[in-house]
Symmetry: C2
Subunit: 466 residues, 2 copies
Amino acid sequence: MTRPLIYNAFVTNNLSHIHHGAWRRPTSQNLGYNDLATWISLATTLDAGGFDAIFFADTFGAMEDHSGGWRTSARHSVQFPAGDPLMLVPAMAAATRNLGFVVTGSILAQQPYLWARTVSTLDHLTNGRFGWNVVTSTRRSEARALGLDDIPSHADRYAQAQEFLEITYKLWETSWQDDAVSSDPRAEGRYLDESKVHEIHHRGARYRMDAVHQQPPSPQRTPVIFQAGGSPIGRDFAARHAEGTFIAGHDPASAAAAITDVRARARAHGRPDDDIRFIQGMTFVVGSTEEEARRLSSEVDDDLDNEAMLAHMSGTIGLDLGAIDLDAPFEEFTSDRTQGVIRGLVESAPGTPKTFRDLSRWAWSQRVVGTPETIADEIGRWAAAGVDGLNIIHIETPGTYVEFIDHVAPVLRARGLMRAAPAAAASAGAETTDDAAPVTLRERLFPGRGARLPASHPARAVLTSP
Amino acid sequence: MTRPLIYNAFVTNNLSHIHHGAWRRPTSQNLGYNDLATWISLATTLDAGGFDAIFFADTFGAMEDHSGGWRTSARHSVQFPAGDPLMLVPAMAAATRNLGFVVTGSILAQQPYLWARTVSTLDHLTNGRFGWNVVTSTRRSEARALGLDDIPSHADRYAQAQEFLEITYKLWETSWQDDAVSSDPRAEGRYLDESKVHEIHHRGARYRMDAVHQQPPSPQRTPVIFQAGGSPIGRDFAARHAEGTFIAGHDPASAAAAITDVRARARAHGRPDDDIRFIQGMTFVVGSTEEEARRLSSEVDDDLDNEAMLAHMSGTIGLDLGAIDLDAPFEEFTSDRTQGVIRGLVESAPGTPKTFRDLSRWAWSQRVVGTPETIADEIGRWAAAGVDGLNIIHIETPGTYVEFIDHVAPVLRARGLMRAAPAAAASAGAETTDDAAPVTLRERLFPGRGARLPASHPARAVLTSP
């Protein structure tokens, strides 16, 4: 069944997210990451172009596994520096109408009570356009920055994340009743009915809290929850909590397999198949002919910085690729962690890489190269395999998104693979030249199902337990 | 010596900061605290009117000492709800040019490494217009929200604040050299010189950290530091760290005494008299005649909510004023904490209150009632006593500030007590219709002394120690 997909811009608050080296291009505005005007301009472009959300990845510690530790990553600006992405959202929200904002927040870094307050504030200020990508942090540099010796074990981190989410669910969903705030405060002479505001008491293995939530119910109450677990425990966590999850398939069939696996896990938590959106990472190089597209793609390769790409891979794998033989077969790397990460990389890489040399030019993303028509063909194949949306990785900002909006989006719309742009939606409407009324991010992802968490979400079990 | 003072708007991210009940006025926009448009409109008004900064007080736990605990404060919206004020800054910054943003951040709530990243991000995004009001938190509700039994002792909190500041000074001032970022990254082919970026290692009683700061030097590096200690240990802390501190004098003479005390303490830390700005809280009711002003002030009194004002006082004193005889003399309250707080209140209250009944209508602020001319006279007296600036408390937003800008500011400017408004500054200039180039918040407070911490600031001692 052909249906419109979800289209997100996938970015970081720094100059180099994934295509390291491309920030040097004369047309790239990535160097302007500490300038609000850069972000407001990008957000209004995405909003007018019909994108669903801008999605901020984030880590708060340098990658430090490649030749010489963090200095190699720093030299090549591999996700370093890294500004706080949350600080970009309010300015972009004020300049846009429909665009959603998904920000990565680590349960290791945040304090649940205060994070709940910050998120509710943002959900109010964005009129319900906020989403939270839940991560647990994986870098030792992040642990040491917070005064820990190392990152807690995988199981410990997910147990902490589970408890963190339970606390925030309680604050967002149950501390204030829907009708606690007066519908006409001046006439009633009071803003709220305090008998409809409740203190939350939490006692758990890692957290204790006795507090009233500091914000009345925001449009979505709980922000849209994203999670990107790749490991079995991570997938199970996503199946339990996520409303949007990432898959890194190397082709539509492998994406379909990942979707089937997470859906089966979700069913075990009582969640219907339609409760989770599956988002694939992808990037595009658009040409007016196949030949032009291939030439442009080859220019991207030329602009990439080999050592930076390797440093990024070292940081992800936890193995110093500067200190090994890049042509050694993967079988020689036998630690549990390395094996797991290599398996994940090989699954999402094009071709069948057998060595790190094979992987080294691969830019952490499916790169689709072609004309608008052949790109739309490819997106159609992923859609047919069950993918619900794309996190579009940029080669440069705003160029990658402008190209997509100007050239690919019209073809996708003609095929029913992308919703009408805001202006087109308005002119298709009857009497008004205004756009349709904005909806929350949750309603964009799940049209017609309301702004709040569905009754089938396992948060309900937390909230109705004594 | 007559000189321009600093004028700040003193606000909270909620509907009722100090003049509880006045949010009901038909002209008040305080109910719009969860709407970005409200804040952007206020910020542009202040910026065009020549205000120096908008100053956000903040607490993240409800006041709970008055008849029935937090529900009494909640019923009257006494600083409850309380949204995250930091989330308002980026949207206001994008819409303004000169206005500074000072936000209260508690060292009990924040994690120093991540707070440093957030603040540097904001100092970049605001072009150096960010200030931090350092607080240690004082409410039990805040402690319990964070999983503590109670707020740490006064001495413990200030020791923690000292260590917190040391960590952030190191990150802001020494992790990146000034020339670490290339002046022409594209031409050089690299963004930064990693040999000029340094890992910070901290080992202290309360914190441990090994990390590289995640942002290059922002315009001010360290934000402008504000602190409002009233106790002897608090005053000493302010004398050591603050570039702006609050005084709550009940008349110019008592303000002068407080200034003399803090200056003496500052000298002991090697700081010259001109390194600290003293900011007095004050509110204004402006009339075209004295009689009109008195009538308007009486209307303010009528709009205030007695129980809310008492609940606010209970929350500050830590004594349930709903459970005591309001006419009992202060001598009957003998706990150390209560005595200290009462002494502070009596010092800053008008008249010589002897009971809580005497204090109960007093709205935590000097209220100056008069014509623009008599108000300017009064401000002149405070300036002559050594006060450097005013935190102007609102009765309602934006009304209190619009009145001040429209009616009082022109008189203050004619007397040299307020800087020219941005537009006036431009027309006074020569060839250009642009405003003078914006400067950082630190340069607004200390004109001509540069954007960075002065060499006389004790942070230098931390930073040059081995």
